[in-house]
Symmetry: C2
Subunit: 120 residues, 2 copies
DNA sequence: TAAGTGTACTATTTGTATTAGTACACTTGT
DNA sequence: ACAAGTGTACTAATACAAATAGTACACTTA
């Protein structure tokens, strides 16, 4: 569920933050569902517990999870804000990509062909 | 022409590499045109000459520039490969973004509206 | 000859992530 | 009451890569 690439340039704790966010966005982790325990996940990923803790602390600061000492860490009840932020981010990235494509002389037709290749 | 963000996470030498590539792709730098001298650019960007040299070495290894000791560094005569690679990269990023958007429940209509907002 | 160019090399510094180790307070289940 | 499992907190040490500092050499151009 939560994975990490030790060789990546992005810090492990950040990968964990992103991984948890993805799990929530994809529905893999539902509201009030418990996250893996700090120590357990550390063993599973073969990294230091402090690194997991750092990730959970960041997630808690962003109101994406809440932690109860002695109990565990859990997904926040309301994940709407997270979904909204992700949505906005995707739109923004798409616009930037289109700008770049236009500057690079990629035709609108080529782009539309690709977009239309995606079902629905 | 070539800019750098000291606060960015991506290494300065890599920013320079990307910056030169962009300048070439946008036509700001034409074939056989001379790049700023290592020492001069170092002064201009207020960074160490070694960092510039590292960037130029990488660009030369990728056949994007060629260097002549005593003369300077110049844009390669044939920049077609660079343009092709950039084109392929954009297409790939677009596909990935569309995948993500689909997974996030963004409607095709919303995407088409954005794409159609880009002239031509 | 002088100035400007790329190239090469080693040592050092710096910043940040990560690890290591320990300790405390709380909750749950027995 | 107890043990096990949980989050939390803190300091020190380690590791690694980027960036800097400093110097030197070979070449080209005016």
């Amino acid at each position: 569920m939560i994975t990490v690439d030790l060789k990546s340039r992005v810090p492990i704790y950040e990968q964990i933050v992103d991984s948890v966010k993805s799990a929530i966005l994809s529905g893999l982790l539902g509201p009030d569902e418990q996250l893996p325990a700090v120590r357990k996940l550390a063993v599973e990923l073969a990294i230091n517990p402090n690194t997991i803790q750092k990730a959970y602390t960041i997630l808690e600061a962003q109101s994406i999870v809440y932690s109860i000492p002695g109990r565990g860490s859990f997904v926040s009840a309301d994940t709407g804000a997270l979904a909204d932020a992700h949505h906005a981010k995707l739109i923004s990235e798409l616009k930037q990509l289109l700008d770049d494509a236009k500057r690079s002389g990629i035709s609108k037709k080529e782009i539309l062909d690709i977009v239309n290749g995606y079902g629905e």
